[in-house]
Amino acid sequence: MERYFQPEIECASRETIESIQSERLVAQVKRVYENVPYYRKKMEEKGVTPDDIKSVSDLNKLPFLSKADLRDAYPYGLLGKPLKECVRIQSTSGTTGKRVIAFYTRHDIDLWEDCCARAIVAAGGTDEDVCQVSYGYGLFTGGPGLNGGSHKVGCLTVPTSSGNTDRQIMFIKDLNATILCCTPSYAAYLGERMKEMGMGPDDIPLKAGIFGAEAWSEEMRHDIEATMGIKAYDIYGLTELSGPGVSFECSEQRGMHINEDHFIAEIIDPDTGEVLPEGSVGELVITAVDKEAFPMIRYRTRDICSLSREKCSCGRTFVRMSKPKGRSDDMLIIRGVNVFPSQIETVLINQGYPANYRIIVDRVNNTDTLDVQVEMTPEMFTDNIGEVQARQKKLADGMLSMLGIRAKISLVAPKTIERSEGKAVRVIDNRKI
């Protein structure tokens, strides 16, 4: 039996959802036009006024916001409410440029936590569950978001934050944690450690995991599920749009349902900005219709995915987005070919290697080089050099057919690639361009 946190909206008819969206969008655009000079100027440049926006179908008249705008307007330029009405900030890690600081009113935190609570209930969570939140707490949105959602569901919340892996495992065992929330790379690491400690899937009380904040492959999902004996659910979000909970997976796991009462989704051609028809693959653009303090309108997420409105058998009517292939920021262009780290991960896991790897890109004599460092495992090692080299070649061939370019495979000693407790740093780009 599928359960919902807020069934009246999660399973509402399309008409109801669209009328809520239209009503909220009209009010949001008016508010932003009046209170955010930065966005008002963008609207004026495009010759749009709030009167032009009467429903969701007018959305494409509005200008986009991008990460570059957030940098320009840093830190207060996109604030939609006076600071005295704001009660919290969260911030990005700033790995891809300047930090983003997002502001929240009480209302914003409330709606964000609702979104996370929907994700937890969709993963089977109830007030009987013990939910361990091993996302980082602090500026990162992962910990605070899922913590708030877990409270709303009524789970016993274990706020371990990230790190101190053996203590994490002790809490999972001693408190019989049934739901784990963290990044997929940390989940893989926790699983690896539990295995080392001799714990099989049956010894681990967890039944579900909610993993997000970075791109991960289906293969990695199966791996984590098998190691811990759980069902692993994806959750999606960005700090700019509250944090995790913009969309989440249901038991069907055929894409993530976007919380459409708060977020309107579009797919655009990232080069032309043109809105693409349903089912097309392109860049996800999100409009937050009732976020107050940091009201993003047509925010370009840089995530590449597609949307589907096909009926989902879980009963939710919210549109589903496919798992992003990777953020366009994560995408590497190597010898002119687009490469996503998640593709490399897929090849590794398919051939039985751990999902712990490092990609080193460099430029030698004007040619890009791609070096994938993989940790040797006892299962892969034999005394026969020819056999080890054959496995190395099989990996290189797998990379070539997946990526379309050749990669050098370096086998490195175990535990030499740093384990991540939050978002994994997988790519080292040494090219000086």
Binding site: M376, P378, F381, T382, D383, I385, L411, V412, A413
Partner: protein
């Protein structure tokens, strides 16, 4: 009797081999024989020690990737033609050698050859028919 050898995966980087020897030295493990095979980016150290089980334990605890393999060891007189006579026996027995390495015993007049073959048990039988008796693990301790 075949004897046990430990193969250790080593990244081909400065210091990797000495990390291993450092560990073995600190645990007072005595190496009887050692050989290194290398490619451009990784190597395999093959070793025979005074206590194979203890060595394996220490290496695994030290997070080295290891494999236990069976090899054949023969004593060879340290004189011209010594190895040749042994290899003729391999020929006659139809045993193919994957790799081999040598080590010396405490007695200067004797050398030892370690052989890796596809099927050590069958090879041992075939070689026995040629009058070649491979050493037992306790005999290796004399090295």
């Amino acid at each position: 009797m075949s004897i046990r050898q430990i193969s250790v995966f080593l990244e081909n980087r400065p210091g990797k081999l000495s990390e291993m020897t450092e560990l073995l030295a600190s645990k007072e493990i005595d190496m009887r024989a050692l050989s290194l095979a290398e490619t451009a980016d990784f190597g395999i150290a093959r070793l025979i020690t005074n206590d194979i089980e203890a060595t394996l334990n220490e290496l695994v605890n030290g997070e080295f990737i290891t494999k236990l393999t069976k090899v054949l060891a023969f004593e060879v007189p340290n004189e011209p033609g010594g190895l040749n006579r042994l290899l003729k026996g391999f020929n006659a027995a139809g045993v193919n050698i994957e790799y081999m390495y040598s080590c010396f015993g405490s007695d200067r007049n004797r050398a030892y050859m370690i052989f890796s073959v596809a099927d050590p048990d069958a090879a041992e039988e075939a070689l026995k028919e040629q009058g070649l008796l491979s050493l037992k693990e306790d005999e290796i301790e004399l090295i």
